[in-house]
């Protein structure tokens, strides 16, 4: 019975989507309209593409959209990740029913040494990605994820020698605060939150894009520490 209802629901959704697209893109009247709409849409995105470089000085237009034009979304999104990290700790930290699991076998010397060797390199790569976010593909989220994968390596390879979770707490609080404060400075200086108030620099060099690289570094640190604490909590290593 439930299966039947589910399948019919699925069918309705599929039908709606397919009708929508057959009408809009392949119908006689639809094809015409789609062409016109594509034109309009290009104009809207085109505005960011054509003016973004001079307005924000960042070569990567996606970075300029993420941090400046739609920076408020990004603030919200960093908050979502923060909620996930805090909420995960809430859900998992309440008293445990089961006694602590049997300790896993420690990793072999090769793995251990490899991890200790690789961890700083991964951190370096992550920081490179988020520092150059305004010039090349990548940015705060991608760099943060790379940093977090470094922590993942530590939890897998060097059991019991993980970082203390207080470090994560301090980093995520401070970097989140840095983001909000930078946004509020824009409000104080130019009357608008997230305003790019610093000089734009010469385009396509490291010191360009005004406030964008600084915010991206804060995002990178915050994403890295939050994903790190999520990993620490889920792997059962955190106290």
């Amino acid at each position: 019975m439930r299966r039947l209802i589910s399948l019919s629901l699925l069918l309705i959704v599929a039908l709606g989507i397919s009708l929508c697209f057959s009408g809009a893109y392949f119908g006689a009247e639809g094809a015409n309209r789609a062409g016109k709409l594509a034109q309009d849409r290009v104009n809207f995105g085109q505005r960011y593409n054509s003016r973004g470089l001079e307005e924000n000085g960042a070569g990567n237009i996606v970075a300029s959209v993420v941090v400046n034009y739609r920076g408020f979304d990004t603030l919200g999104e960093v908050t979502v990740l923060f909620i996930a990290a805090v909420g995960l700790a809430v859900v998992l930290s309440t008293r445990r029913e089961k006694p602590a699991r049997v300790r896993a076998e420690p990793a072999s010397l090769v793995v251990f040494t490899g991890c200790r060797f690789l961890f700083p390199l991964i951190l370096l790569l992550g920081s490179y990605i988020f520092i150059h976010g305004h010039l090349t593909p990548g940015g705060g989220f991608q760099g943060g994820a790379v940093v977090a994968s470094g922590f993942l390596l530590v939890y897998l390879g060097c059991r019991g020698k993980g970082l203390r979770s207080a470090g994560f707490t301090v980093t995520e609080s401070l970097s989140g605060l840095a983001f909000v404060v930078l946004a509020l400075v824009g409000l104080a200086v130019g009357g608008s939150l997230l305003l790019n108030f610093l000089p734009k620099g010469s385009a396509l060099t490291l010191f360009s894009g005004g406030v964008i690289p600084i915010i991206y570094v804060a995002i990178g640190l915050k994403v890295g520490s939050e994903l790190g604490s999520i990993i620490a909590n889920l792997s059962g290593e955190a106290p």
């Binding site: 996606v62 990548g138 994820a145 790379v146 994903l227 999520i230 990993i231 889920l234």
Partner: protein
């Protein structure tokens, strides 16, 4: 190029079906990672290198890791409810 893109999309769909069908959750998660990887290749072809990077590192990498942690702390098979 279009043939290659079609191939990638087909692999992605097949992997998604596999993720839906596998009884062994570990296999299903690996199939899920394959879906994310293919999606990230498609993102690259759609001229979205930023998204491709994010999908590859977050979708294919970290998501798989946290799934495996969760499976490690619960059960591995969809039907068989005994631990381990």
């Amino acid at each position: 190029m279009i043939i290659f893109q079609t191939f990638v999309v087909l692999v992605m769909i097949v992997a998604a079906v596999a993720a839906a069908r596998f009884g062994d959750l570990l296999n299903a998660v690996i199939a899920c990672a394959l879906v994310s990887l293919m999606a990230s290749i498609i993102f690259y072809f759609l001229q979205a290198p930023d998204v491709a990077m994010a999908e590859a590192s977050i979708g294919a990498g970290l998501t798989t890791a946290i799934f495996i942690f969760a499976i490690n702390r619960t059960v591995r098979y969809e039907r068989n409810e005994k631990t381990d």
